[in-house]
């Protein structure tokens, strides 16, 4: 769905998505890194289990929620990818509270 422009270069970072190793460019957000790797489905909804992917890329919509290094409800579009990061699809997880979240 997205490709990287050839003039965009930089150091590579390795991370995993649901166990599959992927590479990103240093400085990418997790959402950009996943889109660049062809991942379009980031989570399933707590209500109907429908698949969702990032919508706004600016921290507003919360459609990009993933689990990062075992912590759920992380906004992939606001988190910078790091070497060795373990990113996983977030399945439902209705534990999210807008007031306080773990």
């Amino acid at each position: 769905m997205f490709r990287r422009l050839p003039d965009r270069q930089g150091d590579l970072v390795t991370f995993t998505f649901d166990g599959t190793p992927l590479t990103a460019l240093m400085g990418d957000t997790v959402a950009a890194a996943l889109l660049a790797a062809g991942v379009t489905r980031f989570r399933t909804t707590p209500v109907s289990g429908a698949e969702r992917g990032p919508y706004c890329m600016m921290g507003v919509c919360f459609e990009c929620l993933v689990s990062i290094n075992g912590r759920g409800n992380r906004q992939a579009c606001l988190t910078t990818v790091e070497e060795g990061m373990q990113v996983e699809t977030q399945h439902g997880a209705a534990t999210y509270s807008t007031e306080i979240s773990a």
């Binding site: 460019l25 990418d28 919508y55 600016m58």
Partner: protein, 503 residues
Amino acid sequence: MSVHPVSAVSDLEEIYDLLVVGAGPAGLSAATAAAECGLSVLLCDDNGSPGGQIYRGITEASAATKSRLGKDYAAGEGIVTRFLASSASYAARASVWSIAPHEPETGEASGLEAGVSLAGAARLIRARRAILATGALERPFPIPGWTLPGVMTAGSAQIAMKTAGLVPSGRTVIAGTGPLLYLLASQLIGAGASVIAVIDTTPNGNKRRALAHAIDFVRSAYGLKGARLLAQVHRHVRVIRNVTALEAAGNGGLSEVVVTHRGGTERLPTDLLLLHQGIVPNLNLSLASGCASGWNERQATFTPTVDEWCQTSMPDIGIAGDAGGIIGAEGSALHGTLAGLAAAWRLGRLSERERDERAAPVRAILRSALRGRPFIDELFRPSDDFRIPANPETIVCRCEEVTAGAIRATMPLGVRGPNQMKAYLRCGMGPCQGRLCGLTVTEIIAQERGVAPGEVGYYNVRTPIKPVTLKELAALPQSDSAIKAVAGIVEKPVSANHPQSHV
């Protein structure tokens, strides 16, 4: 002099003269103007580098990126450079999740207290005044299928391009209206995206209303720019107009765009649909901090009430830029300067005369920068069909998957506004806190009741306006004000001397 970078909450001062929220053209200009008048200024922004929406990623942009994004983008360098040379403190990746009057446990209330999260920790800091320059968001675009993976906003594609050098690679359709639609389309086409169609949903009737402001528009900078962009897009891509219905279809992901126009209904096999129907002020922080707002019919949104010095209804809070009503990048920068000067005046660093003298040339440019706005607002006002979904199946609240039909069905129960509706539905109670459904819900209820949206009102927005994690909370001192900032209320312990009254 150069800005003082803040990278942990422990580096923050106890108190600043001025807190500025948002490092777009408005916030950068406000912070610069105030710091140049001698105020101690803290600028917080949740991105990794300054620039806001329009100038996102400008400090890291390569020459290739700048030429791809055009002159208006590169113009951001001047604003950022001047800010970086100021004496302000700058906290990147810092979210401000509450602002409230500072009410110490003893002594008199004065100034403000703000909740800030940075690098995994939260802290409450004080400021004598604040300027909210939180910018805008893309307006909700509730059509059938807008929640499918493969449907994103056009702005999101621009963000991916600015920050990560990503461009759409499959069959891409851009749909909607607004002055930015053709800019985004031409930037993506210029970068080599395979755009197969632009679906222009601008209602035909708008032209007539906009005509009243046409002279100003032609004399404004927008006129020529707009015409050039339009021609550019037309040369490369099929533009579909006179659109009456739009739908994203697919099973678990987008596979086609279904568009109905004068010539009938077409199904376009599509990999990526980019939606955009203008931008609206990012209201959550101003609403949560108690600033009054009202319905703006021309922009079809609520806008905070601000005076000519960017002053809100809250004594110590100003608002600058698109956050106060959409005025565009150039207007936002100038507005920010006025807000910064006003703060310096209110805090006694400028006399009224000095303030007015410095503001006069800024106001003159602002007047000409805003000249084309009424025309743009009228011409690109999105049609009711795409703001107020008639199809009962269309999802309005993406977080809780609440449909337009479900919202309408609460009307016979006596619902008069969005907050009462929450008694029946979880609409607006998900993590986005109504940002993607608030305006739609207000307008659906207004339509059902046959009254103006201003009469229906908006969600009550409470702090924290961004999720604060338990880990971040653990770093907060457990004072009354901290509890109030994260929970919105303080439950006073019931003691023998002060029995709880039952009023």
